[in-house]
Subunit: 431 residues, 2 copies
C-alpha cells in the first residue's frame, strides 16, 4: 500500500468539504477530491479490496477507547462486542486496556481469540445456554445474572463471580427496539427480584456487583442519570437488607453516534463523565466502575465504500444504485436510520438530490432517501460515514449477496480485519 | 430416522389442535401431543439436527408448485429464489417443471447448481453488474431490462434474449418496503421508457417479452389485476408503435402467506388463475405466460423449531426466551410480521398469554408479542409455522449467532438442505 504524501492531503477542517467530513473518522481528508482515511485513498482501498468495503480508522478507534479510559483511571472499559465482532478490533482495544462484554458463545469465542478472559470479560444474555455458562466459567469471566433461575444454573456450570442486572424502570429516548430498561423489558430484574437473586446468589456464588443498561443509540444522558439514581438507591437497599455492597458497578453503555449532520450526540468523555460523577456523588463507598460502550467506540471509526452502478429517474426521483444495501447495513430498514454520504473519488458542488438505493430486489432497500451530491456516475465511489457499528454485525446474505470485507487503516497502510465472503462460501452450506 | 406409524398420527382435521395447525404444512399432525411434519416427529428432528431448525415439508412444496403449474398448462413457473436460496429446493422444483428467477450472481449460482439454464432462468435486478450480465449470457438466461442503459451493457455482455420491466404505476396494499410498482419505485420503466428501451433493444438484442411485478406478501389480487390491464394497454401500444408483440409475458409473483390465524390469503391457484384469466381476456394474441411465485411456494412449507430457555415475568409480561430470534427471522423487526406458534413436544389447554423473545441483546428481538400456550418450560420445543420464506434468506449472524440448519421431510424421512453454521465458520473470516 503506497503512502500518500502529507502535502497532498487537505485537512478536513479546510475548504468546502469541511461540513461533509464531520461525521467521518478523525483521519478523513481530501486530496484532489479523493477521500482518504488513515492516509490511504478510498480509490486505492476499493481497487485492492473490492466493494462494498468497511474501512476502520485505527486512530479513531484508539481515540475513542482513550476517551472512555480517561473518565476514571480505575474504571474497567469493556467493548460491547455485538456492535462489531472483530478479533482484530478486540486485540487493538485490549492493547489499550479494554475488555469485552459478550452475550453469546460466539461473541465469547471472538473475545477469547483476542486473548481476553477473567475480569476483562463480562458475559450477558437474557437466555444463556448451559454451554454459554460453562464457557464463561472456563474463561473465569464475570457473569451478569438476568433471572433468579440462573443462580442455580451458574452454580452448576461452575461460574464463580456474578453481577445482577437491575432494570431501573426508565424509558430511554431511542428507537423502541433498543430501549432495554423500561418496566416491561425482557432484560434484567426489578429491584425486588434483583435483591432476591442476590440473596440466593450469596449462597454458593460470589456476587461482585450490579449492572444497569438503559438502551442504545442514546443522544443525551438524562435517562441514564435517572437510571443511576435508581442504581444508587438499589445499592443502599442491598447494603441495608443484605449487608452486601458491590465491588463492581457496571453503568452499561448506550451512547449513540451521529449518522447524519442533523443528529447531535455528546462526545464519549462528556457522556461517560456525567454518569460517573452522578454515581460517585450518590454512592461514595469504594467500588470499581465498569463502562460498556459499543457503538460509540466503533461507529464513527467506520466508513463504508460502495461502487455506484445504475442511475435512473423514476417518478421524479433520481435513483443511484450501489453494489450493496440492506444486506450489509439493515439499520435504515430496522431502525429508520438516516445516513449521510459523499462521493469518495471526486469532489464538486452538489448537482442535485439523489436517492441511494441498494442492489436488492426490494423497494425498501434504500440506504439514503435524499442526499445532495455531484451527479453520481457509474463507477463512482460512494462513502457512507458512521457505519462502523451494527452494520457488518447485522449483515445478511439476502439475495445471496456475499458480505463485505473490513479493513483497518493507519499511517498509510491497510490491513484486512475480515475477508470478503464469496459465493462459494454460501454454496458450501448446501447439501 | 424412524418412521412414525400411521395409526399413531392424528390428522390435524381432528381434535382440539385443528385450529392451531391450519398455518402449518399439509402433512402436519399431532401424535400424543407431539407435532410431526412429513411423518417425522419434531422432537426427533430437534434431537438429530439441533435447534433452531427450519423444517420444510416436501409434500407442501410439491403441492404449491403444482397449484401454479395447473393454472395454465403452457405457462412457465419460476421460483423466486430470494425467498430461500436452496439448491435442494431448486432441484425439487426443477423436477416439477419449474424454473428460477434470480437477481444476483449468487442466486444465479444456486440456480445453475440445481441445473437450471436457458429459458428456465430469468435474471432480474435494478443494478446488474457486468459479471451478472456475463453470467446470465453464459447461462443463456432471459434478462429483464430495468433501465434503458442496460441495453448496451447487455449487448456487450453477449446477452441474447431480454424482457423489459414495466412499472404499471399501481400501489399494492402491502408493507411499503415490498411494494414495487408505484410510480416512484426503484424498479422498472414507465410505459414511455419501456417503449423507448424496447425500440433500442430491437437493434441487436432479441426482446422476447415484458414483465410486471407489483409487490410481495399480497393478500388480494385487485391491484395485480389493475397492473395487468395496464400491461395489456402497453402490449397494444408496442404492437401499434413498434410492430412488436411479446412472445413471453411475465406476470410476476407476489402472493402472500398467512403467518397468523388473523390473516386471510387466497390460495395460489385462485390468485394466479384470476391474473391469467384477466390477461388472456385482454390480450388474445398468442403469448407464453410466466409466473414468478416465491414466498407462496415455500412459506407455508416451512416450520421453525426453537428450544425454550429462560422464562420470566417482567412488568406484567410473561416472557419465554427461545434459542434464536431476529438473526434467523428478522421479519417482525423489518415488516412488523406477526407469527403464530405452538408447543411441538406436548399439547394441552392454554395456560396464559406469553411473549416469545429471542436470544439477542436487543429489546426489539421479540418474535411474537402475545400467544396463548400451555405454560412453556425450559427444554420445550416451540414450532413457528409459515416461516419458509424470507427467514433463512435474510438471516444474519447478529450477536455472533451461527445460522440454523434447514431440512426437508417426507414419508418419515428427513434430509439436510443446508447445514448448520458453526462458530468456527464465523471465525474463519477473521484475519
Amino acid at each position: 500500500m503506497s503512502r500518500l504524501r502529507a502535502d497532498h492531503v487537505t485537512s478536513f477542517s479546510q475548504a468546502q468539504s469541511a461540513v461533509s467530513l464531520e461525521l467521518f473518522p478523525d483521519t478523513a481528508a481530501r486530496s484532489g477530491g479523493v477521500l482518504s482515511v488513515g492516509g490511504v485513498a478510498a480509490t486505492e482501498l476499493a481497487e485492492r479490496f473490492g466493494t462494498p468495503l468497511v474501512v476502520y480508522c485505527r486512530e479513531t478507534l484508539v481515540a475513542q477507547a482513550r476517551a472512555y479510559r480517561g473518565v476514571d483511571s480505575d474504571a474497567l472499559v469493556v467493548y460491547g462486542v455485538k456492535a462489531f465482532p472483530s478479533v482484530g478490533i478486540l486485540r487493538l482495544f485490549a492493547s489499550e486496556g479494554l475488555g469485552a462484554d459478550v452475550s453469546s458463545l460466539g461473541e465469547l469465542a471472538f473475545a477469547r481469540r483476542a486473548g481476553l478472559e477473567g475480569d476483562r470479560l463480562i458475559v450477558h444474555g437474557n437466555n444463556k445456554s448451559d454451554a454459554e455458562l460453562e464457557a464463561a466459567a472456563a474463561a473465569d469471566a464475570l457473569v451478569v445474572l438476568d433471572s433468579s433461575e440462573e443462580v442455580a444454573r451458574a452454580h452448576e456450570a461452575r461460574v464463580r463471580r456474578v453481577l445482577v442486572r437491575l432494570t431501573p424502570g426508565v424509558e430511554a429516548r431511542t428507537h423502541q427496539s433498543i430501549q432495554t430498561a423500561h418496566d416491561e423489558s425482557k432484560f434484567g430484574l426489578d429491584p425486588e427480584q434483583a435483591l432476591a437473586t442476590l440473596r440466593v446468589a450469596l449462597d454458593g456464588l460470589e456476587p461482585v456487583g450490579v449492572h444497569v443498561h438503559i438502551g442504545s443509540q442514546l443522544a443525551r444522558p438524562d435517562e441514564s442519570l435517572l437510571a443511576i439514581d435508581r442504581l444508587v438507591a438499589f445499592c443502599a437497599r442491598a447494603r441495608d437488607e443484605l449487608a452486601w455492597t458491590p465491588r463492581l458497578v457496571d453503568l452499561g453503555g448506550g451512547l449513540g453516534v451521529a449518522h447524519s449532520p442533523k443528529e447531535d450526540v455528546p462526545d464519549a468523555h462528556t457522556f461517560a463523565s456525567a454518569l460517573v460523577a452522578r454515581f460517585r456523588a450518590g454512592w461514595p463507598e469504594p467500588a470499581r466502575l465498569v463502562l460498556e460502550p459499543g457503538r460509540s467506540l466503533v461507529g464513527r471509526a467506520g466508513v463504508t465504500l460502495y461502487r455506484v452502478g445504475a442511475t435512473k429517474r423514476s417518478g421524479g426521483v433520481d435513483y443511484v444504485a450501489i453494489d450493496g444495501g440492506m444486506s450489509d447495513n439493515p439499520r435504515p430498514q430496522l431502525y429508520g436510520a438516516r445516513y449521510h454520504a459523499i462521493l469518495a473519488n471526486r469532489d464538486g458542488p452538489a448537482e442535485g438530490a439523489f436517492r441511494i438505493a441498494g442492489k436488492h430486489c426490494e423497494t425498501g432497500d434504500v440506504l439514503i432517501e435524499r442526499i445532495e451530491l455531484p451527479r453520481p456516475r457509474r463507477g463512482d465511489l460512494l462513502a457512507v460515514p458512521a457505519t462502523g457499528g451494527y452494520t457488518l454485525a447485522m449483515a445478511s446474505n439476502y439475495n445471496a449477496l456475499p458480505r463485505p470485507a473490513a479493513v483497518l487503516v493507519a499511517g498509510g497502510e491497510a490491513e484486512l480485519l475480515r475477508r470478503r465472503e464469496t459465493i462459494d462460501d454460501l454454496l458450501a452450506y448446501e447439501a
